[in-house]
Amino acid sequence: MIARPPRAVLVLEDGEMFAGEAFAAAGTATGEVVFNTSLTGYQEVLTDPSYHRQLVAMTAPHQGNYGTSDQDAEATSVQAAGFIVRSASRTYSNWRATGGLPETLAAAGVVGISEVDTRRLARHIRSAGAMRAGISTELVDRDALLEVVRAAPPMAGADLAREVTTSRVYDVDTPDAPFRVVAYDFGIKRSILRLLAAAGCAVRVVPATTAAERVLAWEPDGVFCSNGPGDPAAVTYGSAAIATVLGAEVPLFGICLGHQLLGRALGATTYKLPFGHRGTNQPVRDQVRGTVEISTHNHGFAVDNASLARADRFGAVVVSHVNLNDGVNEGLRCADAPAFSVQYHPEAAPGPHDGRHLFGEFADLMRRCGRGRSTTWPEPGAASPLGVVDMEPGSASPPLDGKRSRGAGT
């Protein structure tokens, strides 16, 4: 027999309220409310550190159908602050599944609300912009929850990379890799580490605030700057470190927040988009080759195209990629320095693999710069806590470290 589930409500900073039902952890969660239009990959989205302190609404109505899999987590636990869906599946069915979505969220203490008119929500965010919001299973009175929402910190100006970065240096063990790459962890996804490894990189992951001098002392073949949450303008230590790396002419590749920080290091400015790009169907034109890639996006901030044209701290900068939908900057390339970056997510997860060639291009860049001689680090770091060298999640071979992974919901 059908019993009416406990109520939950979603209240936006501007007073807009959405009624729904609780389907995960009980409690109250606040954050910036954003929507993601991907048809698949809720687990990858939820575990992506770039969604830290965000309440994520999926526009696809059914969520949880194929459960969750230890292999598909992008970080050790659920990163989003709350989850908003039209319909949360009470069961799941997939040969790779190791758990269900509601249980995974509940175990991580993440509040979920279902039966929400998520299309109304997406349309509201589209016109009113991303804003603070709260989901609650206990404060079902609009005004009470609204008070809590308005007391929450805003996204603009927030330095969140500090909150999600690794606390210690660790090495991703990649036997016989020709390149040694230091990866700045501003909220790095496991898929990025997998693809760097596949491109021939032994990766040393370092905390976001690591001084560039320490990194350079290891004589890396390249430096990678990861994705991450928050306002790039607040991550001043990141852009400062990048400027130092650029000065040392070490090849550099950045994704997402890493891209924004590179832009800022070059002298460009960043700004907050009204409601951002979040999904796996975004067309990005490669300005050099003239082709279009369908790509994964997850960004609320962007590099200002016009400011890039004026950025000259390390020579000329080329706008390498733009979003076909709205012309927003999606990539840059330094003409006079061995550095490039993209705003979108070539590692996908979830999303199309169209941009994966960029990892190979990073390897090519290092090779062109005469890098890639030594395969061992001068001083050993800690072992990877992630176990991420399984190249293709779900491929027939078992994950090297799948059992030790503290995957969401296990």
Binding site: R119, R126, N281
Partner: protein, 1100 residues
Amino acid sequence: MPARSDIDTVLVLGSGPIVIGQACEFDYSGAQACKALRREGYRVVLVNSNPATIMTDPAFADATYVEPLTVEMVSKVIAREAARGERMALLPTLGGQTGLNVAMDLAAADVLERHGVEQIGAGLESIALAEDRRQFAEVMGEIGLEVARCGEARDLATARTLAEQLGFPVLVRSSFTLGGAGSGVADDWETFERLVTEGLDASPIGQVQIDESLLGWKEYELEVMRDHADNCVVVCTIENLDPMGVHTGDSITVAPAMTLSDVEFQRLRNASFAVLRRIGVTTGGSNVQFAVDPATGRVRVVEMNPRVSRSSALASKATGFPIAKIAALLAVGYRLDEIANDITGETLAAFEPSIDYVVTKIPRFNFEKFPEVDGRLTTRMRSVGEVMAIGRTFTESLGKALRSLEDGSVGLVGAADGRSDAELDAALRTPTATRLQAVDAALARGWPTERVAALTGYDPWFCDQLLQIVELRRALRACETLANVDRWLLRRAKRAGFGDQMIARLFGVDEVDVRRRRRELDIHPVFKTVDTCAAEFAATTPYHYSTYEDTTEVAHSDRPRIMILGSGPNRIGQGIEFDYCCVHAVQALSDAGYETIMVNCNPETVSTDYDTADRLYFEPLTVEDVLAVHDAEVAAGGTDIGVMVQFGGQTPLKLAKALAAEGVRILGTAPEAIDRAEDRGRFGELLTDLAIRQPEGGIAATHDDALAVANRIGFPVLLRPSYVLGGRAMAIVYDVDQLRQWLEVNAAEGAVLVDRFLESAVELDVDAVYDGTEVFIGGITEHIEEAGVHSGDSACVLPPFTLGRAQVSVLADQTAMIADALHTRGLINIQFALRDEVTLVLEANPRASRTTPFVSKATGVPLAKLAARVMAGATLAELRAEGLAPPLDMATAPSLPYTAVKEAVLPFNRFPGVDSRLGPEMRSTGEVMGIDEQFGVAFAKSQAGTGAMVLPEKGTVFVSIANRDKRALIFPVKRLADLGFEILATEGTAATLRRSGVAAQVVAKFSERAGGGTTVVDRIEAGDVDLVFNTPRGGIGPRADGYEIRTAAVRHGIPCITTLSGILAAIQGIEALRGGTVGVRSLQEFHAEARRGLDSERPV
């Protein structure tokens, strides 16, 4: 790169008649492509033999050739068009498998090269690679993809060896056939040998493939597009509810995929692009089908089609991404990032649609028309249509789709079905059209979802969704009365797709009570928008669906609006011809300044293209759903909203009364008048008052009544249940026993009409428009088959070839009288019988008819457009002044200087063993038109257009004639002998022929096979016969000689003509073919000639 400037003319191939496996989705695709190409400034030349299509409307191309899609006729079109000296390209990817096959043949015959025609869209090599299973498997291996293990055979012995290697079950598929004709799964030698034999016959190259069976694997289809810069996008991923083993056209399918993780989906996405690249589809859309093992995730490529398809039409409707239009633009040189997304207006076609709703497609079957057929679903497609529904959840879209089907069910009500557990177990294992109901029954019995999933192969996630429906139903029933149901529960049920009728059924109340209770509890549907982007961008195209959510998106409007209700799923008796009428109505009203609103649930149609009406509602055609649209439009401003129910066949007519009762304004002929025409008794009185004759007959409520009527008027009598379309259950009976037998089977359907059957009368159809004061006779069509063959299955001719001027006047006068007496405003179709100089009225339908598009194509007068305007208040005089109607009509203008013949296309090749004898029950799925100055040529073209009835110019004719027809046929058969045909006949017929000097070779009847001689069936099997004339002498069903002859002919694709008049026409056709060259001319040229007659002075 923008559009290519080195091409002037694009030749587009249509797909020909509607057949199972190839329906009006290609009208939608082709019409879209023609529009897009003309907008780019190309001269568009179209070849399509199907007059019921919108694409053959002369406004859609610069030159429209309604000619058979044969290499011979298309070559003539190419030669004629090439003579203009323009640079021409052939686009074959929009006309289904027919288009591709014709393109292959044209290339093989060097026609393209000879005339310098470039093939665009898909190259020959790509088509061949995708079609040839062995080569396909080989190249898939090269790119690291697996296909099911397979082999091919050109004879039974080789096939057997392959089956031994693969092990049962195996899949048998006929090469180069559409919709899986000649295909099936075999798990024993008997089935295997039958399938191989049929498959070899069905294949134009005499080849079958034997595949390892992937029964039980999940099936997915990806709709992919690629441009010349190698940009690739997946438009839509479709998941089949039915696992592998059921043809995707016969499966319930869902979009987007519901049970694929991102990791799995990306693997399929990458594979689909790799397939396109390897097959060499340089531009355009393709669909790639995959099988996925639910236990291990192993993937096999099932097949790919390098063209638009049924699924691409579905995907276009499901996402708002117009695949055919984009494919056409890519073929002429555009890239995806150079084409605008119509829906958002601001973004481009280079993206992948994201959808925030669920789409369910359910096939529509017509097995009741072929009761002798096994209803098990296989890899051979047999559905005749489909519905699509959009909801915010799977259960909602499923519920809406089920009530869109119009099959009498109101949704999953868990009816107690009295089946034993063992029977239910078997029903779950066997794929049929009603397996979903069996799943519902099993879950209602408390069978665990795991068990149901294991038996059906449905994914457990879907089984759980279905269980949620069962649980909600249980919760509702537990309330005992509707008044006890609280707001939360009722809203929950509505959100899960429960229709008002379904809820009413649960409580044993009326639908109106549920509606009232729902309004009391403030539960109303809202309308959301299909926008390609899940609300990320504003949509400018109002393409809506209903759901139960917080807010609605219907835009305000102050303009006068007219709603046109569509015709729902295609089915035998109601198909594309009504969609043509709906689309014409929309166009005419839109041109006249009205805002048009289309409501329909058929994804294959032009009417459900967001580009057709100003506002599109993809909704079931039920009172509940149509009222919801009406309410939403009223709420959107203005009150002047009229509804037209006369264009969509019976579907909207059935709703008229209930809609009117709710205060909806029905335009045109009043529902009451329609009712009066349909009600035999009342219509009879009307005719009596007008002193117009009708066949004697009566209405019988009981068996005894029926017997009494029959005895009064005399046998043979024509029997039919009242209120039928397509002649469902109609029969001619010759004696009391046959009458009793029929009543036993059909009495449950209510009142029965008993009419005197007019043997050897000529049947005529008049299509007219009446505005209240004057009538416009749009066309008078004469049937070739005599009365008794359903008008939809009969070949017919316009202008009528045996009628004199005086008879035409009588028909016109009587039409005007009846139209006036019925208070008609708009279209009226009247069927007359002409016997011994007496005209009798068989029936009148004050609405669009099946012949409306044929008449318009033949004459050039857009009847449905005139009717729509008249229904909206214009007079014919006003329409003449506007130039929409010509000064004269078909009764007053000089006769047309050419002849158009419409021929029915029958699906017997899909239903082996079904008797192909024509009768009062309609069984055709589509139609073709032949048009020429000479009747014989026009008839021959119509036969060639069917693909199955192609008249031979020489060879052997087998003649077996009923005694009553012998006298009439001696001289025609003699004519064939004189033309050099070998005549083969049974003993009796041969003797008659010999006495008249016709040398006929005698062959044994099938029933004489015990005698050891060669029978006619053996000769047909051996391929010795090119044409069969067989007028039945009564024997129906297996073991009768006529039956064996007809089914053997169908099996071997030999034309088999079963009526006297059909034979006479065929002989004229053969003579015409032998008489010299058959020419081609465009519809535009024919219409210009017709118009000269229609524009001449009105006679005083």
